[in-house]
């Protein structure tokens, strides 16, 4: 039923295709990348330090150290997706847990959790992420952790609202009437209804996370060199924007495609899994 609706949604299918392409690129990078992504070719830069433009020797040109851009983009997909999937996965788990706890706990716990999300909402996420990653010496795992710790808030709010509305529904009230315990109601009756939401956010959130990681790497506080990352490539090359625009154009397009893919997929899933069509 859901798949049928999904398969008729052209935008969602496009999203699925884009995600699959990026995923394949990342997984098959060792086999399909034409060169070692970290090898600095002596003929990759001119004697005055100018990179090679796209051509036959290097399909998408070279970067400012004479490395093959195409190979770096393919390997860069790994860092991007790794951070995207892991950070967002953690954020969704925290968000679902805290959102459900907040919604179920009528007393102090619920209030505390939701007030805590209020506090988190008062912070500009990006600013805080930049400050945190810069202050804690940046690495791939710090970036993942920081993004996860900031991104759960939105999920928690959605889940919270959903739990509140589920709580009032007949089947939960029925379970309560027969004396089922709180945790039993949570696991048997509420959690299954939250899975579609978690799935939707699992996809939508990757789009946001990929953007956030790229931004941090662009500012130099994300994934560290020489590990290839799309934001990092743009960071290293932005001073050559006017003379070597491809070094900014191609990695940017890669980020755009990945983020777009997961956003379209997520929206498609939402429409397919939510029969009422409401958000």
């Amino acid at each position: 039923m859901a798949w049928r609706r999904f398969s008729r949604d052209k935008a969602a299918l496009l999203g699925l295709v884009l995600c699959t392409l990026v995923l394949l690129g990342a997984l098959l990078a060792p086999w399909i990348a034409p060169h070692d992504p970290n090898f600095q070719f002596p003929d990759g830069i001119s004697l005055e330090g100018a990179p090679q433009s796209p051509g036959t020797a290097f399909l998408l040109g070279t970067d400012l150290l004479g490395r093959d851009l195409l190979s770096r983009l393919l390997w860069g997909a790994r860092a991007s997706l790794l951070v995207g999937i892991v950070a967002n996965g953690i954020a969704v788990v925290i968000g679902v847990l805290l959102g459900a706890l907040g919604g179920m706990g009528r007393g102090l716990t619920g209030t505390l959790i939701m007030r805590f999300t209020d506090v988190m909402m008062a912070f500009p996420v990006l600013l805080l992420a930049i400050a945190l990653t810069a202050v804690l010496r940046p690495s791939l795992w710090i970036v993942t952790l920081v993004i996860a710790l900031l991104n759960w808030v939105a999920v928690a709010r959605v889940i919270y609202a959903q739990v509140i509305s589920l709580r009032e529904r007949e089947f939960v009230e029925a379970a309560q009437a027969v004396g089922a315990s709180g945790s039993r109601i949570l696991y048997r009756h509420i959690v299954p209804h939250l899975l579609p939401t978690a799935l939707v956010w699992g996809s939508l959130g990757i789009g946001t996370t990929v953007l956030l990681e790229a931004t941090l790497s662009f500012l130099g506080v994300g994934v560290q060199p020489p590990t290839p990352s799309w934001g990092g490539i743009i960071n290293e090359s932005q001073s050559y924007l006017t003379t070597a625009p491809w070094l900014v154009l191609f990695p940017g397009a890669a980020i755009l495609i990945t983020s777009l893919g997961f956003n379209l997929l997520g929206e498609g899933l939402r429409d397919a899994l939510d029969p009422n069509g409401a958000n």
Partner: protein, 306 residues
């Protein structure tokens, strides 16, 4: 309404208090010695020690936080480690450029988002609708720093239509404001589209149309009024998103606002400036959301807050 406002204000103050604890803890996450940062690399160990005592950095967290909070309540945000000046005037001198940038971005969001949203709703399911939805998705997926660099390359460097960067009048403002607001414009278009679609199916609108009222009047009188509250709360939320976005946009365009200030501070680990800007942002975001809620309530008394 008064009770609501008062309780929201109190709630916001609580949020800000906790937020200040969080932000202040940044200093304790720092792997480097703040006293050494103040003293500079070539200062002697004695100098570093005397600075540590002077700033109270040798005291426990609670004592340091209490001191910070009392100063904060008096409007004293401390002194920058690197710039030889206090944090408050530093922030004050950057507020206006950032405000201009945000205002420009909101204006562009509305100017682009409103017509596109209306157009998409009126041509639902046809190519304009798909085009606008495509634009919304692209806007939400494009990295801001890349968008900014691309706009600079194409419009400023390539076509020479705008300055390449720097602070100045409207021509300087346009590209950074567009970079900041383009993603939001798509979002506005989507929200306006769906709120319009909902209204257009309502009975009174159908009646109005059946009576032969021109479509533009219908849209303006009924549909847009319905879309106003969500737009106001979106502007409130936008302020929060922008507070992060300006870091990227201002550093790409060399705009002398809060974003550049905090980014420069981050690069040299100037903790008082970082903490100051984060707390200031938290205040602005909380105020913006508070204001949005109150305005919404005033506009539409039907909305009930629990």
């Amino acid at each position: 309404m008064l009770t609501f406002t008062v309780s929201r204000v109190l709630q916001s103050l609580g949020v800000l208090l906790v937020a200040s604890v969080f932000t202040f803890s940044l200093i304790f996450l720092l792997p480097a010695d703040p006293a050494r940062l103040v003293a500079g690399p070539s200062a002697s160990v004695q100098t570093v020690n005397s600075i540590r005592r002077e700033l109270g950095l040798d005291r426990p967290f609670v004592a340091q936080y209490a001191l910070y909070l009392t100063n904060l309540l008096r409007g004293d945000l401390g002194r920058s480690y690197k710039q030889q000046t206090a944090v408050r005037p530093l922030i004050a001198s950057r507020v206006w450029p950032t405000f201009q940038l945000m205002l420009g971005a909101i204006a562009l969001e509305l100017l682009l988002g409103l017509p596109l949203g209306i157009w998409a709703a009126l041509r639902r399911g046809r190519w304009p609708d798909q085009l606008v939805m495509g634009f919304a998705f692209l806007g939400a997926s494009a990295p801001q720093f890349w968008l900014g660099l691309s706009l600079v390359y194409l419009l400023a460097y390539g076509l020479n239509l705008f300055p390449l960067g720097g602070y100045g009048g409207l021509s300087h403002l346009f590209l950074p404001a567009l970079t900041l607001g383009l993603g939001g414009a798509g979002w506005y278009a989507r929200v306006i589209r769906s709120s319009l679609l909902e209204v257009l199916t309502r009975d009174y609108v159908r009646t109005a149309r059946a009576k032969g009222l021109p479509q533009s009047r219908v849209v303006v009188r009924h549909a847009l009024r319905n879309a106003a509250p969500p737009i106001i709360s979106m502007i409130g939320l936008d302020i929060g998103v922008f507070m992060g976005g300006v870091v990227v946009v201002e550093s790409v365009f060399g705009w002398p606002g809060l974003g550049r200030l905090v980014w420069d501070a981050i690069r040299v680990v100037d903790i008082p400036v970082i903490v100051g800007v984060v707390i200031f942002s938290a205040v602005v975001i909380t105020l913006a959301n508070l204001l949005a809620d109150v305005v919404q309530l005033a506009l539409d008394p039907r909305i009930r807050y629990s």
